[in-house]
Every structure is written in structure tokens, then in C-alpha cells.
């Protein structure tokens, strides 16, 4: 799975422009799905299995998109100002290299600030594509870029751009591979436009009309020096979400997940996330309502060009989801 994670991390797929990474996923799951389709917003929906008497129509999602940068203006000297697709802190951008969908490249620079105490605002940073003036610029208003950063294998730990959420995408693909028998009709859904507000999941869930939803993504860990308080640490296994700022997970789903993990002897932790949410938030309130829960992979340095995760957490997350979906859901 490591090779797949690397490939996905290095693929390009900013919000709204997920085609390159979608193509990659499409080829990875082509032989595994009964049916494949791409909807109007760019969600890739791969269905597998048919519903047995004690089975459910289940949606399992992982978002494809990553933070993007869109050029808003190229000034007379050739520097490109930009807006972000999804949220990124300007101070984490400076020094990062970027690659445009049209294959132009550049580096992010910042204006001189009048005080060392201040942080850059987004309108004080820019992309330098090396162009010696507006006329020479290879990028124009509307061109979109992502971080340009090779994958780094640290053994147990891995670093890469867009590991949020390509590691979740890899995990869902791995679940598809490993899931041998299931009573459920499962819609493995690789969603678009998550980081701009769960937009892909909103319409995908409407289309699938599921009876149960699970989202797989990363969650910020609290195990770094002076980190924001979060009882989440790398290497402690998948985080089963209890609540976040956008949703309260169905308590039956949370119990089902924790009990399944305990029975299968898979280490897990409980996630309460403040200041963030999952696309399961949108799925939960689709149509007449959907019982929903999340399996999260702990991650450091989210929304920067170097996100860090633990490989064992990924493998255990896959194992947990395979366990969950291999049998009928006991509480329905």
C-alpha cells in the first residue's frame, strides 16, 4: 500500500480540478468494482456487492481533493497573486514550491513585514514563477497549482503533500481489495470538493441514498510540542470519531466501531475534533437522514506541503473498516 500512497500523494487534484487523481483511482479500482461512474461534481462512485437480506446500502467515502492555489492577478513584474482553494495558513506557504495544472512551476514568496511579530496575510504572499514580467508569465488568472513535494518514506512514518486525504483514498482502495464477502451493497465513493465545504459528498450521498455512511479521512493529532489539545497520537491506531464541530456521530455507529475494534483486537482511539469536521457531516443530513460515523487517520502538519502520518495507523484503519463491512450491522 505504501507505493500506492506515494503515487496518490504525488498526484495532482486540487478542489474542483480532481481529474488527474480521479483517473489514477479509476484505474486502481477498475477491476474491483461492479460499476463505476463519475457524477456532475466529479465524485467517482464505485459500487460493489448486492444487498442481502441483512445487508444495507452503505456509502464509504474518502475525499480526493487537496488544497489548491488559484492565480488572481499577475502583476507587471510577473509575480502571481493567488487565492486558496481550501484553507491554508499563509505563513506555512512561504518557501513551498508549487506546480500548476499546465505544468508551470514556482515558489511562494512573502512581502517584507514591518514587524517580526506579525504573520503574513494571504494578500502579502505571491508565487514567483521566474517570469521576468507579466508578458513572460506562463500562468494567468484562473490557473491552478498544488504543492510540489516528493513523498518521503521515513520507515514507520511517511511525509507527503496531500496525505490529507490521499492516505484515506489509499485505505478505501485497500478495503475494496481485501473485502472478500459482504452482505452489503457498498458505494466506495471518492469525493470531490471536500476541502471547500463537503460539496462532493453532499450530492454523492443524495444520489446513493445510503442507509449507513462511513467517511475515512485524516484528523489532526495532538502529540507534537505545544500542540493544540487533542487526545490523538500517531501510532495509537485509527481514531473513531465521536463528534467534531460539524457533526455528532450516531452513537450506535460509534459503539459498533469500538466493539468491532475490541473484538478484532485492533488498537483504536476516540476522536473529538474541535475546529474541523468531516464530510460525513453533510451525508448525515442528506434526504431523510443517514446514520454516520468516521474512521480517522491521525496526521501532523495538516494543510501544509509536508503532512506526516504513521503507516501502522493506516493499516489498522483498513483492517477495522474491513471488519466492519464483512458482517451484517448488529444494531439495525
Amino acid at each position: 500500500m505504501k507505493a500506492l500512497i506515494q503515487q496518490l500523494s504525488e498526484a495532482t487534484g486540487p478542489s474542483g480540478y480532481e481529474a488527474p487523481v480521479r483517473e489514477l483511482v479509476k484505474s486502481a479500482v477498475a477491476g474491483l468494482a461492479d460499476e463505476l461512474r463519475v457524477d456532475a461534481l466529479g465524485n467517482l462512485i464505485a459500487s460493489k456487492g448486492s444487498k442481502s437480506q441483512d445487508g444495507l446500502r452503505v456509502i464509504l467515502t474518502a475525499h480526493l481533493d487537496e488544497i489548491g492555489l488559484m492565480v488572481t492577478h499577475v502583476d507587471e513584474k510577473g509575480f502571481a497573486r493567488f487565492a486558496t482553494l481550501g484553507d491554508a495558513l499563509p505563513q506555512t506557504l512561504i518557501g513551498a514550491r508549487v506546480r500548476f495544472l499546465n505544468s508551470a512551476q514556482g515558489v511562494i514568496g512573502g512581502e517584507q513585514l514591518d514587524s517580526g511579530e506579525k504573520l503574513h496575510r494571504l494578500d502579502q504572499v505571491y508565487i514567483d514563477t521566474g517570469a521576468a514580467g507579466r508578458e513572460k508569465s506562463l500562468v494567468q488568472v484562473g490557473d491552478v497549482a498544488v504543492f510540489d513535494r516528493p513523498f518521503l518514506d521515513l520507515g514507520q512514518r511517511m511525509v507527503g503533500k496531500a496525505l490529507d486525504n490521499r492516505v484515506g483514498v489509499a485505505a478505501v482502495i485497500e478495503v475494496m481489495r481485501r473485502l472478500e464477502t459482504t452482505p452489503h451493497e457498498i458505494y466506495f465513493t471518492f469525493t470531490a470538493q471536500k476541502v471547500v465545504g463537503d460539496r462532493g459528498a453532499t450530492v454523492a450521498a443524495y444520489g446513493v441514498d445510503p442507509q449507513l455512511a462511513i467517511s475515512l479521512q485524516v484528523t489532526p493529532s495532538g502529540d507534537t510540542p505545544k500542540a493544540r489539545l487533542a487526545e490523538i497520537a500517531l501510532g495509537h491506531g485509527p481514531a473513531i470519531k465521536v463528534r467534531d464541530s460539524g457533526m455528532i456521530c450516531d452513537p450506535r455507529v460509534v459503539r459498533w466501531m469500538t466493539e468491532t475494534a475490541e473484538n478484532a483486537k485492533i488498537a483504536y482511539q476516540l476522536e473529538i475534533l474541535e475546529g474541523g469536521t468531516s464530510e460525513a457531516r453533510a451525508i448525515q443530513i442528506t434526504r431523510g437522514g443517514v446514520p454516520a460515523g468516521c474512521v480517522s487517520i491521525p496526521c501532523r502538519y495538516l494543510h501544509t506541503s509536508s503532512e506526516l502520518i504513521d503507516y501502522e495507523d493506516v493499516q489498522k484503519s483498513v483492517a477495522l473498516v474491513v471488519e466492519l463491512l464483512s458482517r451484517p450491522v448488529p444494531w439495525l
Binding site: A40, G142, V203
Partner: protein, 362 residues
Amino acid sequence: MSPSTTAKQASPAIGPAQIELLERLCNAVAVSGDEREVRAIVLKELEGVADQIQVDALGNVLAARRASQPGALRVMLAAHMDEVGMMLMEEEEAGVFKFETIGGIDQRQLPGKAVLVGKDHLPGVIGVRPIHFYSAFAELETIPVEELRIDLGPENGKKAKPGQRATFATRFWQAGPSLIAKALDNRLGVATLIELVRRPPENVELLAAFTVQEEVGLRGARVAAFALNPDLAIAVDSTPANDLPAWDGSENVSYNTRLGMGPAIYLADRGTLSDPRLIRHLAATGDALDIPYQFRQAGGGGTDAGAIHRQRTGIPSVSVSVPGRYAHTAASIARRQDWENTLALLYHTLERLTPVLLEADR
């Protein structure tokens, strides 16, 4: 910018009749949640023109024109009828009312402005202490809306009630190449849609939605899009042009849009990542027919597309706006030429639409 291409002649034009319609639309009072005046104009203008017309539960006007051939793309065009404004809250004494703002209004724009209240357009003033009674300019600070009142006078005050809406009393006028009025956001869009329903391209099924409550959260568009369930959607709006030079002579790098540069095609705003296929199609149409256009800078703000594209299983959407300076104030300025080019770009974009466009990967 050659206007001589033959194809261009086919699009509806802006003449005295269209300007007169825009004037009536801009002078109407239609603050979010009470769009009756604009709705009445729309219904009257489209009477006998639309193949089907209805007013839905929230007050959206939905007007359809059938295509000449079966199997045509069903295209939703949305323009919001409502404008930002004020609502009377409570009468304090003879004709003096507390009020609140509806939609995004800069409070510094309020003091000293003439307003029109309710369906009778009762004239009033947002009162302010005159400069005579200040000892120093330093005292002139922003007055919060809680401390402001609308003064209708004792007689008209009796005809007004809490809950009634008010707008700035600015009258529409033309000044050379410019259109000056309140509520150009979005009566320009409403007027554009009316012209397109009157003279629709025949290859598409045109589903025009004149929406309510955009300024308070895209509420009308949401239910309209659910009901219409179109193949694709274009929101037609007016977006701010913040294009004046910077005070220190430095390059203005955040203008949003610029007057005179043609219709603004949206790439990304707070609510929508425009469908790239539709962006490309609009730009290709402009390029092929020499219709000027500009890309609106990505960033904040939003249009009805933000609600529309998330309905049902997803609706490919984009927005096109006429740029206007000083939006959401008592007087904004747009260019007639930008409006004409917006109408032309929309008409020909629709005329050149085929289902093949949406068969490609986004």
C-alpha cells in the same frame, strides 16, 4: 471588440425599451423576503411570452421556454430579484422608526440617506445630527445602526408598520456610458433574463429562475434548483468592481473585476468552484465572437450558483456578472456596454451549447 459579426446580430440588443425596463426594475423596492414589486414587473413582462410560468412557495418566478427539438439540454438561468435594504422594527414616536439592515450593508453608508418605505414608497430620511453640533471632526465616528432612526414624519408614519422594508431612494439615471442606480445588483441580471426569455436560443430548454432571498443566503435558488433539476445552470448577477487606482499609485492587484472589460466569468468564490467545462465554453464563445469578457478574481463573495450546484446529484454551474462599482450602497455604477456584452455572451454561449460539452470529464 468588433460588433460586426453576423452571429452577434442575432442576440437580443439593449435599446431604449431595455433601458426603460431596467429603470423600472432599479427603482422598485424589493428587499429580501418581500420581492413583490420586482416579481410583478417580471410576471407582466413575461406574460404570454414564456411557455410556462409559475410562482413557487418561496416566491421565485420560474419561467420556461421550450426548445425547438426534443432531447435539448435543460439550462437553468438564475437571477435574484431581491436587494439589500432595511426593515422597520419599532416606532418610537410620531413616524420615527428603529430599523435593522437586511443583507450586507456597510453601516457607514446609512446616515443622512433618503429612503423609500413599503409598497407606497413613503419617503423618509435616516436622520443624523448635523455637523453644526459637532465641535471637532474627531467626534465623527461610525454610528451603529441601533442608534439610527428612519424619520417618516408624523403623517406618513401612521401608514408605516414594523416589518416593512425600505431601500435607498436613489433614482435611476444614465450618464454617458454609465448606468447609475441603487440595486443594479441584481436588476441587471433580472433584466438580462427577461430579454433571454423573450428571445431565447432555440436549441436549449430555457429555465429562467427569478429568485428570492439571495442576499440573505441563497435561499430561493436552493428550492428553485431542486424543483427544476436542470442539466446545468448559470447564475446571472452583478459583482463589485473595485478597480480604482490605489491611493499610493501602486498596482491595484485586488480589483475583483474592472468596468468596461466585459462580463465577468466566475472561476471560484466562497460558495462555488465553477464547472471548468462551462468556464471554457464561455471563454471560447467570447473568443470566437469577439465579445470581450474578464475573469472575476477568485476569492470571497458568492452567487445563487453556490446553492444551485449542490442540489440533488449535483448540477454543473457557473456565474456571469455585470461588473458594478459601489455595490450595496445607495448608488452603484455600471457600464451599458458591459451589460450589452453580458447579454450577448450569454445568448451565444447558450446557442453554442450541445450535450457533448457535459459528456467530457470535468
